[in-house]
């Protein structure tokens, strides 16, 4: 099923040259695009979607630079001396720690922290319908919360206006990355990424191993200076002192951070929750405690660090179904209703049929802020529901991408036949702004000649 990709341009229409020559921008996208290319959040992707980073990568180069330079100086100046005077294991241990730190850092930076993909328009409309019972027409209702019970404790879920969904518990929206992240801990500028459910263990490994590394280097440098104290001031000694200063400050801050995060891991808390005091006892409620804790330090640690690795939900390397990409382009360039007036009735019937056919095929997104479009073979039924006063309802046709796609090319003709009975009144009655655009989009597939809309 997944091997059959729906093509925006109908192969039959390509032979009709004057029409294909007038193909619109969205139809030129022959190359299927990967989802990372159309990702709405503020992220950067490399290696064709395999690696991702926050757009605000912060001071990641500085972090890398500091680690590499300090270790470089250590290997260059301390190791020869210490190998001579102490043991050969010193550079070995240093090397292992260094590799571990760098790998953990890169893993933290380049992994999807647990980004939640934004709600599809259908889902958003469904949620809006459930909430907006008062029937108000304002697009941005006041902030919404939903209360749920988790382990007999009341937890408030907030509605995210950007992602158009109720955030799951422990999820927070990172304003720097413009994404909702599951089990959001914090956005770390040193690492250049959010720290969330999927990369918390890498982050923790990074800071723990970095603590060991900095303490190790600090210890080695002190030993070196102590053993060399009789030699007097020299260049090497100056370099040692630089290393010492860097390590000294790093050790305290990194050790402090590691200690803090160890506490968080042991109590199954996130930095976000700890800072906000979500579960602290001074909130007043007697039964307010962390509902996620297993009440055992070992179990909490295992759950956070050794739990199953959840998959990335954003499917970076998947392909965007071509209709979705075209419809997204459609939605962003909404044409005005005057286009409908220019159509003659012949065009109307033909284009109506084709629009509906397109909707039936697969993922044809029609963004309808004010009105909704219900696909139905009965034109009367549809035209009756097209009043602008209608509250946002279900947007049509977001069918299962692969399976529906696989059928369209095979049975496109039969669907066209079944739509002959559509009442042309449907088209004229529709105030949907995206419909004229849809007409333009389907102009390629016209079998009979007709005047393309300008």
């Amino acid at each position: 099923m997944t091997s059959c990709e729906y093509q925006q341009i109908d192969p039959r229409a390509l032979s009709v040259s004057p029409l294909s020559a007038q193909s619109l921008p969205e139809n030129k996208a022959q190359r299927p695009r990967r989802k990372w290319e159309v990702f709405p959040g503020k992220n950067r992707f490399f290696c064709n979607g395999r690696i991702m980073l926050s757009r605000q990568s912060g001071v990641l180069p500085l972090t890398l630079g500091l680690i590499v330079i300090t270790c470089g100086l250590f290997f260059a100046f301390d190791c020869p001396f210490l190998v001579e005077h102490l043991t050969v294991f010193i550079p070995v241990i240093g090397g292992v720690l260094f590799v571990f730190v760098i790998l953990a850092l890169l893993r933290t930076s380049f992994t999807d922290p647990g980004i939640l993909p934004r709600a599809t328009p259908d889902e958003a409309a469904d949620i809006e319908k459930q909430i907006d019972s008062s029937g108000s027409s304002s697009y941005r209702p006041p902030p919404r919360t939903k209360e749920i019970l988790i382990n007999q404790q009341v937890v408030k879920l907030k509605y995210c206006f950007t992602c158009k969904m109720f955030r799951p518990p422990r999820t927070s929206h990172c304003s720097l990355c413009d994404n909702c992240v599951e089990r959001f801990d914090h956005h770390c500028p040193w690492v250049g990424n959010c720290v969330g459910k999927r990369n918390y263990r890498f982050f923790y490994s990074f800071i723990i191993s970095l603590s060991f590394l900095t303490s190790f280097i600090f210890g080695c440098v002190i030993t070196h200076l102590t053993l060399r104290c009789h030699a007097g001031k020299s260049l090497i000694q100056a370099i040692q002192e630089i290393e010492l200063v860097i390590c000294f400050f790093s050790v305290w801050s990194i050790l402090g951070l590691s200690g803090f995060h160890t506490y968080l891991v042991a109590s199954n808390l996130t930095t976000n929750e700890d800072i906000k005091g979500s579960w602290s006892s001074k909130r007043g409620a007697e039964d307010s405690g962390n509902p996620y804790t297993y009440n055992s330090i070992i179990k909490n640690c295992c759950a956070t660090l050794c739990g199953p690795m959840p998959p990335s939900l954003i499917d970076r390397r998947g392909f965007v179904p071509p209709d979705e990409a075209a419809a997204a382009a459609c939605a962003s360039e909404i044409e005005l209703p005057p286009f409908t007036a220019k159509n003659d009735s012949n065009m109307c019937t033909q284009s109506t049929k084709d629009v509906l056919e397109r909707m039936l095929h697969s993922d044809f997104h029609v963004v309808c802020p004010a009105s909704s479009l219900k696909t139905s073979p009965l034109g009367l039924e549809v035209s009756g529901s097209m009043g602008p006063a209608r509250s946002p309802g279900v947007c049509p046709c977001r069918g299962h991408p692969e399976s529906v796609d696989s059928l369209c090319t095979a049975c496109g003709r039969s669907r066209k036949d079944s739509l002959h009975s559509i009442n042309p009144a449907f088209r004229l009655a529709s105030p949907s702004p995206s419909l004229p655009r849809a007409n333009l989009a389907v102009s390629d597939t016209q079998e009979e000649g007709f005047i393309p809309l300008p």
């Binding site: 469904d126 518990p169 279900v394």
Partner: protein, 143 residues
């Protein structure tokens, strides 16, 4: 007569009537569980027991994926020791279960939901937020 339609037949002739979203159930925490209550829109189409059975099986599969068992513990420790490079070549337990879930949903669609003019979408395609149930109009009713 709709019962004899295969999945492909159904989609050839049917139009999408509406979509229903089964939301997540957070009563047991952040584990991936879905609500088993049959929505009102589906009451006419499918048996309550059948539907609950499907959702319950899905919930069990997700619970299995997220279980804190010895397997996940060993996997976690091994990954930590290899500086997480092992994930580059090995498929995680979660991913294996997700494949099982995908197969289960396809099977359910083929056997139970398609003949009734319904289609379940794998929740992973919706970011594990909802189970999207697409309701197709029964072509026999629209004449």
């Amino acid at each position: 007569m709709a019962e004899t339609h295969s999945l492909q037949d159904m989609r050839q002739q049917a139009t999408i009537s509406s979509k229903v979203f089964i939301q997540r159930d957070y009563t047991r925490g952040t584990m991936c569980q879905f609500q088993t209550k049959l929505p009102a829109e589906l009451e006419a189409r499918i048996d309550k027991q059948q539907f609950e059975e499907t959702v319950r099986t899905l919930n069990n599969l997700y619970a299995e994926a997220e279980k804190l068992g010895s397997q996940s513990f060993i996997e976690g420790c091994l990954a930590c020791l290899t500086a997480y490079t092992v994930f580059l070549c090995m498929e995680t337990h979660y991913e294996k279960v997700l494949k099982k879930i995908a197969k289960f949903i396809e099977e359910q669609n083929d056997k139970i939901y398609a003949p009734r003019g319904l289609l379940l979408t794998d929740p992973i395609k919706r970011g594990l937020r909802v189970i999207e149930v697409t309701i197709y109009e029964d072509p026999s009713l629209t004449r």
